[in-house]
Every structure is written in structure tokens, then in C-alpha cells.
Symmetry: C2
Subunit: 300 residues, 2 copies
């Protein structure tokens, strides 16, 4: 089954201990789509400005991503400028953001995309995420990601939205902030009570905690020695998870574990290069090779 | 094969969000021995004072632990007083330590224990750990744990000791401090070059990173909802690992993974109660039940 994602498409300036790169193709929806497109048909719903490089558009199209609802608006593309320090490559320090065309954006979904059964709301203003959801018909499974900013600024909207989704994805800090719990299992349990039947707490290099009523588990990350740029790792992870679930068309325990294995593997490639340098040229063969390595590691 | 451990036997006062407990049986060697004794024959080498409660001695004996080389000295038993805050249950804040009989202690090993093939040097002054090692004959496999204090105060002694061991166990902070690397895989690689063929970096609730020349992997912790007291979790983990390895008498990839599974499971019980409240009454059946749960979680 196909998958629709709404979120940001951005141009990133990123500084990490490995160097500085400008105008990288980035954004929550882009990283997600890039990852998921290896596994399933992806529809991208987002907005860009007139300044968005044509080569990026060609690139997304070449990846088989349906960009019908990638709208070009008068103005500049959303820009993010961030830095990662050697001491803590897990934490992005935002140096600047320019909303540009994000301001006032209302998502539009083409008619042929409205019945897409799997939907992911990548990090965005929860009110806009809600608008997207309202446009969809017959969604079978909806995933949601957010960020601390929205927990602080729009908690009410976020809580309303959370009630309507099947999977909520949060990083450690977000899960703790939203639940007020410092124990991650308790935090996950709290989030479960807000509505979503599945909770995934991303812990960066420490892997992920999955929680549902019937099963909970921790899953390790693939140990990466050369972390070049972690930007988009969480979205790449979510893209792998949702990509596999939508391709499997089911969300039982076994497919969820396999989906997390895909997400973990894809995210490990993402951090090895700037922007999408690594994920853009990945083949399923590369992914399966590392997946098998990871499977072997944890098979006891 | 049997296992010998040298380290501290302590009386702990511990404060956690779950409450305050006094005079708990604690210490690196005790937690290690308690855990390992479920899997193999354990010889405990340590020192206690005249104030050490008789009931703790009976308890250790009842567990089948050989206490021939648990020496009683004039003076008071080593005492540790620590606190864990709700926000970070991973980090022990030391409120007070009283060395007591630890001061000037030279380990003695009974003749029948000198050929013990598996040896673990639980956290202690590296010069004393070296003395223990010098007393042993025909050690087949030696594991070593240390702490930040010794990295700061006795780095030279520690480095000399590390060269002589097969397995070095460190927590994240120690691994980073000793290697100067912030990436854990790089840190492990650096530690590997110091001598030990196996490196295990403990990440608390995030599990463990294992590193060797031929294979490396991350292994998740069991997700514990009610962390009561994390004291001794690392030693309990190491006890499970070494206990299984000595029982298996081999240290290939498969036994190491299984050993880590035992260590992970035992540590998850340890944190669920104060001191040894949980581990003291564990049966192998309890351990295997949770181990199977953990195995099922990560089997993909």
C-alpha cells in the first residue's frame, strides 16, 4: 500500500565536527520520503519557494516520489541552520530558521492521493498537521512526529491531534516533556493513554523504545563509528518504519519489529554522510546487507 | 569452570525517589558475586570489618559463594552513601564514603582458589587489582572494571593493568574519559588498542556496546518501568556475563552474546529493588523467563 507524508522540505546549512555544508536538501518530509521510497510508493505533501533548486526536484522525481502535492509558492524555501558539537552529536543546536513559504501554508492533497492508506505527519505545526488529516479519506494507519517547540507552544492542538493517530513518534526529550515522566517506559505508557496504540521513543545512538499494550521492547541502534551529520536521522528512521509497514499492509508485532529493523538500518546510513549524501544512493541490497549484520548481532 | 571476583563488600545507605534504605549489603564484588552465583561457582575475595552483620555472611554462604578469602579485619566495613535523583536515575551522586578496612587492604587468595580460570577484578584501586592478578595462576580469562576516580588518580597503574586483561568493562563516561573519544565505537576501538580483546561499554538503561576485532554490536537493556535503586546494576550485569562465560568455559561470539543476555536480564532485576532485594531471591527460572521475553523482543 502507498504512503503519504506531510512535513517540511528545507534547505539546510549544517556544521558538524566533519565540516560545514550549505544548501543541503533537508526537511522532515524529505528525509522521511527518501527513506520510505526505498520500500514503498511515497506521496510528498509540502511547500517550497521559487528559490528551490530544480535539481532537487528532479532528484525527488527520480526517486519515484509523487510530488504532485509539493506546492511551489511565491517566496523562499524554509531554511534551517544548525550545528552539532563533538561532545554531543545527538543534539542539534539550531542557529537560525527562516520560515519563508511555511508561513501561512495550508496543505493541499491531490484527489488521487486522498485515499492513501498510510499517512505520516512529519514534524510541523500541529494545527497544519490536523488540516492534512482532515483532507484524508480512509486512512488505515496514521503516524505522527512532533517537536519540543509545539509541546511548548501548541500543546492543546498537539494533544487533540495525538488522539487521532495510531503511532506517535517522539525523541527522549519530547517524550519526557510531554509526559512529565523521567522513566521512558512510564513516559511511553503515559503517551499511550493519550490515544495512539503504538508509541516509539527514539533515543538516537541508543536505539528506540517501542511501547504498546500487548508488547514493549528496546531495540539498539547500529553502532556507527563515523557520525558525519545526524540531521534527519529520526525522519529517516520513521520513513523506514512506515515504509515497511505500508508495504506489508499490516501492523502486527512481527511486522513492527521488522519495520523498526528497517528504520534503524536506514538511519544508520543517514548519519554517515551530510544531508542525504548516503541515503540518496542506497540500494535495497545495501540496506539488507546491514540489516542482516544487525540481525546477526542481536540474535541470541 | 569456577569464577573468582575481587572487589568491595560494602554497607550502603541509598536514597532514591522510591525511598531511603540504610545498611544495605552492597559493594562491587558482592553485587557481582550474587549475580554470578546463579550461574557458576564463585569465590569472593574482599575485606570486611568487625561490624559486618553476621546475617550477611550467612546469606553469602547460603548462596554457595566461597567466602574463604573474605577477610575480617579490625575496623569498620567500607561504607557508601549515595543518592539518585528522579531526573537522572542513571547517575549515582556519592554523598559520603568511609573506606574503613579498605585502607591498606592487600588481597589474599587461598591456595585452592589460585587456579580459578575465570577472574573478575571489580571496581577497586588498580594497584590492588594488580596484586590480586599477581596471586593467580593459570588464569584463562580476566575481566576488569574500574571507575572515573582511578582514571583520574591512577591512570598509569590502570593502563598497565588493562594490558593484562581479556575483557574491559566501562560505563559511557569512563570509556569517554579514558579514550578522549566522544563516539562510543571509537572509544571502544581505542580501549581495544590498550590490550583487552573484548570491550564492553555499559550504557545503563540504554544497554551495552560490545567491541572486539571480529565483531561489534549494541545490545538493548530490558525496559524496566519501576527503577527503584540502580546501585550495583553494572556489577550485576558483569556478574551475569562472567558467570555465564565461566560456566560455558569458552568465549566465542555465540557465548558472549548469550552471556550479555544473562547480564542484561540480571541487571534488570537488580534495579527493581533496593540493594539486593530482588537479585537475592531470584531463581534461574525467573531469569530464563525474562530472558526469553527479551529474546523474543529483539528477534526479527
Amino acid at each position: 500500500m502507498s504512503l503519504l507524508v506531510m512535513g517540511t522540505v528545507a534547505l539546510d546549512n549544517v556544521k558538524t565536527p566533519s565540516g560545514l555544508r550549505r544548501d543541503l536538501l533537508g526537511g522532515s518530509a524529505t528525509h522521511f520520503a527518501m527513506s520510505a521510497s526505498l520500500l514503498t510508493k511515497v506521496h510528498l505533501v509540502a511547500v517550497i519557494g521559487k528559490d528551490f533548486p530544480e535539481r532537487h526536484i528532479r532528484f525527488l522525481t527520480k526517486k519515484g516520489i509523487d510530488i504532485t502535492s509539493l506546492i511551489v509558492k511565491e517566496g523562499t524555501t524554509f531554511r534551517w541552520e544548525g550545528e552539532y558539537k563533538k561532545e554531543d552529536l545527538n543534539t542539534a543546536l539550531t542557529r537560525a530558521t527562516q520560515l519563508g513559504v511555511l508561513e501561512g501554508y495550508i496543505p493541499e492533497v491531490a484527489v488521487h492521493q486522498r485515499n492513501t492508506p498510510f499517512v505520516f505527519l512529519a514534524n510541523f505545526d500541529p494545527d497544519i498537521q490536523m488540516k492534512l488529516l482532515d483532507r484524508m479519506r480512509k486512512s488505515k494507519f496514521v503516524g505522527l512526529d512532533s517537536m519540543n517547540l509545539w509541546i511548548e507552544l501548541k500543546k492543546k492542538s498537539l494533544l487533540k491531534l495525538i488522539r487521532r493517530v495510531d503511532l506517535f513518534v517522539a525523541n527522549e526529550g519530547e517524550a519526557k516533556a510531554l509526559s512529565g515522566e523521567s522513566n521512558l517506559v512510564k513516559a511511553a505508557k503515559y503517551l499511550r493513554r493519550l490515544g495512539p496504540k503504538f508509541i516509539m521513543i527514539k533515543k538516537g545512538e541508543h536505539g528506540v523504545l517501542f511501547y504498546s499494550d500487548s508488547f514493549k521492547f528496546s531495540f539498539p541502534a547500529y553502532p556507527v563509528e563515523q557520525v558525519v551529520d545526524p540531521t534527519g536521522a529520526g525522519d529517516t528512521f520513521a520513513g523506514g518504519v512506515m515504509g515497511y509497514l505500508s508495504q506489508a499492509s499490516t501492523t502486527n508485532e512481527q511486522t513492527i519489529k521488522k519495520a523498526i529493523l528497517y528504520g534503524t538500518t536506514l538511519a544508520s546510513f543517514n548519519v554517515e554522510g551530510f544531508g542525504m549524501a548516503k541515503t540518496a544512493y542506497l540500494t535495497l541490497k545495501d540496506v539488507h546487507q546491514r540489516m542482516n549484520e544487525l540481525k546477526k548481532f542481536i540474535s541470541v
